[in-house]
Symmetry: C2
Subunit: 434 residues, 2 copies
């Protein structure tokens, strides 16, 4: 069994041999198998464990389990507690989505600050199938049926080709220990129903169902790439990007018999979902508009215009010297401190003398770049957004704190290397997002 | 319940009110409900029943059931017996595929010869779902998940929006009688497993699952239209159509990161399926080739060429006056007869004096047209092929019997109006495909 895994790893991910790897370990069956497999492969790796604090003692026991495993095997571990409930409430997300967001944000942070090349997660083929069936049961589209990719930028899922049964066999053969998989009760109810009632029937209908399903996923993903091509090719003909507006030329658009499909592709990333209204808007009178949470879609003569809601239109705000608070559009607090404290997503410490007042707070613009803290060299903000999987909405909501138009802080995400506290720093300014 | 159906019909298919309709009636629940609904709508209609002779007495009893229903309700009925087993064997098809082919070919024939505007079939939403799950269980791609459309050219499926439960409720409310659905045993086993074991779980997970599923299908179909767009747009850039060859420019193709997905789209209609070999062929040496049943794919310098296998390359064969048989490439028998007999797909009767010998037998060419028997006026052969749902392979295999380059007979499919026997005919020639 080990050979089968190892062969797959070395043919599909040969570059892992020389990489510095971070393994996401919940303590469940799948991630403990992944950890064991990687341990046996003589590569440089560490463990990252998220404690989402959603299941009280159990969550803490999972953390202790992974901690003591790391200690007894001399593995470097990173452990992070998240106030997932609070975050979910603040961001109006389900616990699951909130946990996923927190998890991947932290992974990307570790990638950058600790110089890992890749994060490995232990998703497997049955996970793919269960997600496919969950999405099908709720109603979905092609994207909901495509599954997650085995490599997406720096996230790698080396077990995606294997079934739960294979992983379990390996765990038993190797006397591995694990904790029961962490997932909240309602998700567990759905997954269990699918796992124990749907999947067995599909396997009865076709004994090699999982293999067929893997082919199906491959086909669907290839198809998805054609959809992306069509969307992009037609976009270039029909849509004009002007500043923060996207202007859809209806004369061009309406020549396409399937123009609704294109509107769907282009507008759903902006959070629009009232499709029937949107399809009506095409023929509505000039001036009519439809809103998503952060954007509006405006019928204007022979065009549809997508733009941020007017209250959110890009503006600049200033922080003057000795000003110790900003209240709008964000609440920031600035304090001179004597020594550097614990920095996190919401708190940074900068070299006050490197700043030129007034500081500006503004939205990002095409062409913005910065020197992300913990990285060598500069990076275009657009690239940073892409690597960190910012959605269009995340990007529009992002605020930059700037000094003389140099980015000091992508607020709440990452500070700039150029303004960090060094041994030569005389005055430290603590800036806090409240 | 009747109103619900009626509203749907009149909003979605308003043109049916004034159309001449042919209803496909198996005698099962679904088609008897459709027949009853249409009967109550005051439109001109008739019934078509296929007896596939696959279930012995049962098949005949179904036919008698529909016949006697038509008689007692004064409905015009068309009844056709098919030797489905023989046809399936000859064409190397499964019984199911053979039956489908026979059914739709006959429907299109009736449409043309009896001047119907549309054929209605009784497929419903649960059929869609079951087909989706059958295809999923076997392994599939987007096309296998898209279901059948509610309108496809002249085939209309007005019940596609309704569930089996709704249809059954209507049947009971209206005291309808029906025969148990005809389907072969192995198909029944699979459908029953899906119907009784899979679908109920999906409905437990989401009580409005069928509605969600209908949305899913809509989304997938919209997406499929984008796939078709991408395939067509890129085809125009990368492929040259020259005579009977398609020449794929590899220099252009290989610039696309997802070129395999395009090859899949373009080549599967030609019956190719050895995808790994085909993807290798792209980088193979000039002269290497791969075959499907009727086509070959040739690597030639910086191109891939799709063409018919060399033995099948378009040729002309001649039938001279008084020649009573042709043995190659088809076996045709020609006999002078005194009076016209029963003509069918394989037997035609023509006015011998209208013919100019030698007759030619050849493949079709772009620009060919004929006067399909039973229709007014002429029709391009390409349009005829399209309406009759000829596949690329069907088209390449089609033979034309011509007189002075006018089409006399699309062999085995349809004769030409210009050569039919009239009251002025002196000599009748019977031509038979043996």
């Amino acid at each position: 069994m080990f050979l089968k895994f190892q062969n797959h790893f070395s043919t599909q991910f040969p570059f892992l041999q020389k990489a510095k790897i971070l393994i996401a370990v919940s303590g469940g069956l799948d991630s403990m198998v992944l950890l064991d497999l990687i341990s046996k492969m003589n590569v440089e790796f560490a463990v990252a464990h998220c404690n989402f604090q959603l299941r009280g003692d159990e969550s803490n026991e999972d953390e202790h389990f992974v901690q003591s495993y790391c200690t007894s095997n001399s593995i470097k571990g990173f452990f992070q507690k998240f106030d997932t409930k609070q975050f979910a409430e603040d961001e109006k997300l389900s616990f699951q989505v909130a946990a996923r967001k927190l998890r991947y944000e932290w992974f990307y942070e570790l990638l950058a600050t600790e110089n890992f090349d890749f994060v490995l997660t232990a998703h497997h083929l049955d996970d793919q199938l269960e997600t496919f069936l969950i999405n099908l049961s709720r109603g979905t589209g092609l994207e909901g049926l495509c599954g997650i990719p085995s490599q997406n930028d720096k996230i790698i899922r080396p077990l995606l080709h294997f079934s739960r049964a294979e992983i379990e066999t390996f765990a038993k053969e190797n006397n591995l220990k694990w904790r029961e998989d962490s997932s909240n009760a309602s998700d567990k109810y759905v997954r269990n129903k699918i796992r124990h009632q749907l999947v067995p029937v599909l396997k009865e209908l076709n004994p090699s169902f999982l293999d067929s399903f893997e082919n199906t996923l491959q086909n669907l993903n290839q198809t998805q790439s054609l959809v992306d091509d069509a969307s992009r090719m037609v976009y270039r003909k029909v849509v004009q990007d002007v500043d923060h507006q996207k202007i859809i030329n209806l004369n061009e658009l309406l020549q396409l018999p399937n123009y609704q499909a294109y509107l769907f592709q282009w507008l759903s990333p902006f959070g629009f979902s009232a499709w029937l209204d949107i399809y009506d808007l095409v023929n509505a009178q000039s001036g009519k508009q439809i809103f998503s949470e952060h954007f509006r879609l405006l019928k204007n003569r022979n065009t549809l215009i997508v733009e941020t809601k007017s209250t959110e239109i890009s503006s600049e705000y200033f922080i003057h010297e000795h000003q110790d608070e900003l209240n709008f559009p964000l609440k920031l607090r600035l304090i001179s401190v004597c020594e550097i404290g614990k920095s996190d997503a919401k708190t940074i410490f900068v070299d006050a003398e490197a700043l030129k007042f007034p500081l500006q707070l503004r939205n990002w613009q095409e062409g913005d770049y910065f020197y992300p803290f913990g990285m060598n060299g500069k990076k275009k903000l657009s690239k940073f957004f892409k690597d960190e999987k910012f959605s269009i909405i995340d990007k529009e909501k992002a605020w930059l704190l700037c000094s003389d138009n140099q980015i000091v802080w992508l607020v709440g995400k990452r500070m700039d290397e150029r303004f960090k506290v060094t041994e030569n720093t005389q005055t430290i300014l603590k800036i806090q997002l409240v």
